[in-house]
């Protein structure tokens, strides 16, 4: 624990110029908003790409008016070519995984609220923090630039399996310049995440205010802390992998390309590399990445539910231990992506066991969330609806993990839409529900205004039902053997599945359109929303103790916050309110969770 009285003076003065205040800002709150803005830009891009993909999958010869403007060669006569489908698909996956699911729940919310929730004035390395955002933004620009260079972006999928990703332009459109831009973008992105993770870890360990012991941290802070440890170790593996991939392109090395490969009747000048090495390195990052996307959401959802249930979780510590167990196990399970990859089949059994075991901490989390609802005084608002929706999605996406954890069943389901349905529900939709919940919950603190609840609820209902209509049928397609990453379904046994694809396309377009309601609410409320009280949800953690909304530059207006209580003192009987703020010196009969 750290006494901030030793840091009475803010480490950097409040900026006055536009550039230092809003562009190259050192303020963690501005950086958090910048990350949120980037994620918003990225998610809109990724969503439009998914619409284009879904339209093409439903009606392969469909003319999409204006598509040729995006790429004359990719969509001659406004009809998407097979290679352009794969290029859009690769960009959709990359943008969503890296620039939305990693950026919004972790970097955006975490940057804004972690320092406030620990009672600090900022992160310990504000310049690193600023750099982390601008490096990440640069990575985004580099990735998007691949649309405009050479023959477009890479088509090798977000997993970029070698040697398709490593042999160069001879492998297909986008595999030259587009590929190098992809690998450069992700390597740069890793630098940003490493800088961010360092800041998050040191903020949590070193910047806590007086009285803020580790067990007094809110579950959000625990989620971000655990995620930052994962980020530090996972991105540190992906970055060198991307650098080696770039070298295979530009320096004539053969890290990921084996000998004697023949493309276009030309013997390739590579020798001695390993195809499977890329997969091991990628998934050593890739599986923790799933938890990098979802653990912050678990923290956010727990935090929001507690405030809306008016009681602490059945056990604060069990939630923290379970999130920690997920993080540790996430490094041991990555081989389940490679059961039929050609690695030693015995390894598949070894990787299968921890993959099955990881369902235990996941189940514990779900049971604690549901068990905590029992006997609570649950308030229904848009934030809590999205938090409850998160649990439903996490259950639905989680149970399909039972199938994919088993090598024998993976023989049938590997690389099918079952996998796509599984990871979209558990990692993408659930995480995005966490982002929505966080947005509706914290918006009053960040802007000083409330979001419109009616619009919020309409947004929730249509998104909740819509997401199920899109992603549940993916599982049925997978069970029927529908291979993923096909731009059209020409195989006899797949043709009968096309009507289901069309249903999904319609659901995706409608659910996507519903997000415009959210966007409208987000921007309209910023200017016309009802003015927010300082603590609209009667919540207890330190972000609600700031003197204003949005909080002042130093967060607490020069006050040195002292923490007296565990984070979630709700259901306090005998008090006028049913809650006590963390920094309230009131003597209370503490509501302690079970140890």
């Amino acid at each position: 624990m750290h006494d901030t009285s030793a840091h009475a003076v803010h480490q950097h003065a409040a900026p006055t110029s536009f550039i230092r205040k809003y562009v190259f800002s050192l303020d963690h709150k501005v950086i958090g908003k910048q990350y949120y803005g980037l994620a918003l830009l990225a998610v809109l891009t990724g969503m439009v790409l998914s619409w284009l993909m879904r339209l093409h999958l439903g009606w392969t010869d469909l003319k999409i008016p204006g598509l040729h403007l995006l790429s004359a060669s990719g969509a001659p006569g406004d009809v998407m070519t097979p290679e352009y489908y794969l290029q859009l698909m690769t960009m959709h996956g990359t943008i969503m995984v890296f620039f939305v699911l990693t950026t919004a729940p972790f970097a955006a919310f975490g940057n804004y609220f972690l320092p406030i929730q620990v009672g600090a004035e900022d992160m310990p390395f504000p310049r690193f923090n600023m750099m982390s955002f601008w490096v990440t933004f640069t990575a985004f620009l580099v990735l998007i630039s691949s649309f405009f260079f050479g023959d477009g972006p890479t088509l090798a999928g977000w997993t970029q399996y070698a040697p398709l990703s490593a042999v160069g332009a001879v492998a297909g459109p986008g595999q030259g310049t587009g590929e190098v831009l992809w690998a450069s973008s992700i390597a740069i992105f890793c630098v940003g995440q490493l800088l961010g993770s360092l800041n998050f870890i040191t903020t949590t360990l070193d910047m806590r205010t007086k009285g803020m012991s580790l067990w007094r941290l809110p579950l959000t802070a625990w989620g971000w802390f655990i995620t930052s440890v994962m980020g530090l170790t996972a991105f540190a593996v992906l970055m060198p992998a991307c650098i080696l991939l770039i070298l295979d392109h530009v320096a004539g090395t053969s890290f990921f390309v084996a000998s004697n490969l023949v493309l276009n009747d030309q013997l390739q000048p590579h020798s001695g590399g390993s195809t499977l090495l890329w997969q091991h390195l990628f998934w050593f990052f890739g599986h923790p990445e799933v938890y990098i996307a979802i653990v912050p959401g678990m923290g956010v959802v727990s935090h929001i539910l507690v405030a809306n249930m008016r009681r602490p979780m059945l056990s604060h510590r069990v939630i923290v231990y379970s999130m920690g167990a997920l993080a540790v196990l996430s490094y041991m399970v990555y081989g389940h992506h490679m059961f039929v990859s050609g690695m030693n089949p015995f390894s598949s059994l070894v990787f299968s066991f921890p993959t099955l075991v990881i369902t235990i901490p996941s189940t514990i989390l779900v049971l604690i969330w549901i068990g905590s609802l029992y006997g609570s005084k649950l308030r229904i608002n848009t934030a809590s609806l999205f938090a409850l929706g998160f649990i439903s999605m996490f259950i639905s996406g989680g149970v399909s993990g039972f199938f994919l954890a088993q090598p024998s069943i993976d023989i049938m389901l590997h690389a099918t839409y079952f996998v796509v349905g599984h990871f979209h529900l558990v990692m993408a939709v659930a995480a995005i529900f966490g982002i929505f919940a966080g947005t509706y919950f914290w918006y009053p603190k960040v802007t000083g205004r409330m979001m419109n609840e009616t619009l919020g609820k309409i947004h929730f209902w249509l998104t909740f039902v819509g997401a199920y209509c899109i992603f549940m049928p993916f599982h049925y397609l997978g069970i029927a053997g529908n291979v993923r990453r096909y731009q059209a379904f020409v195989d006899d046994y797949l043709v009968r599945l096309i009507p289901l694809h069309r249903f999904i396309t319609v659901a995706a377009l409608c659910t996507g359109a519903v997000q415009l309601i959210f966007l409208y609410n987000l921007f309209y409320s910023r200017f016309r929303g009802e003015e927010a009280p300082l603590n609209p949800w009667q919540a207890t953690s330190l972000e609600w103790s700031t003197p204003s909304s949005p909080p002042p530059f130093d967060n607490f207006g020069g006050r040195h916050v002292v923490v007296y209580h565990d984070p979630y003192q709700y259901g306090i009987e005998g008090s006028t309110d049913d809650y006590v703020m963390q920094d309230s010196p009131a003597q209370i009969q503490s509501v302690r969770d079970e140890k």
Binding site: V262, L349, L367, Y374, K377, I391, V399, K457, Y468, Y493
Partner: protein
Amino acid sequence: MGKILAVTIILIAILSAVPIVMHTWNPPADVSTHGHLIDEQMSETMAEAGIAFLAGQILLAFFIWKFSNVQPGARIKNFPGGAMGLVLAAFLLVGTEVLALGVFGVKAWSQVYFTPPAADAMPIQVQAGQFAFYFRYPGADGKFGPLHPELVNEGTQNLFGLDPDHDPASKDDIVTAEMAIPVNKEVHLLMHSKDVGHSFYVPALRVQQDFVPGLDVSLHFTATKVGKYEIVCTQLCGLGHYNMKAYLEVMSQQDFESWLKKQAANQ
């Protein structure tokens, strides 16, 4: 509104389960000797995961129904048994389920990967390349001639890079674009990729195995029913990935022999 959410969750859960219970969408029927083990494992997992899915959603919905918008003066209650009860339940229920699935699942996996092919299994080589599968049968001498990647030339139809002028074993090798096998005869498939990663997926045979450029991979199976089945690629291999397919014809021994003779004559 809590009650509407509860009802919606239950409706979604039930509607999601209907196509599974009704078997609306199924893979092609199994025609292999080992496939029933995979199918049984799948059914068992479906039952257990299905129960977990329905139980989780119904419990969530029930508590939302019961505890949303209760009287402000109501007292907070704790779940009977508390957190420790739930943790123990997770360990016992899911732990047992995990152990059972893990242990029983080994059986199917072992039959595919840990049992060596029979000594008299019929060897067939399959080469994957952008965007076609090609097959090679060893001919009368029972031997495959060596591969020379530098000789691969699609223009001259030297698809495998064979050199029959210098390699006697290559002389009678039979190269085809379609795979044919005799029914009830074990096949030992010797797999290699010419260029990038591909996969060999035959849903009806319950087999899927990646080709690894630079590595020789093998697979063995026995088909039990005469018919024509699709072989598709499941590893993203480039722009023609969706169209990379071949047919597998399972024939009687007699038909197979005449098919092979015909193919040999066409070389």
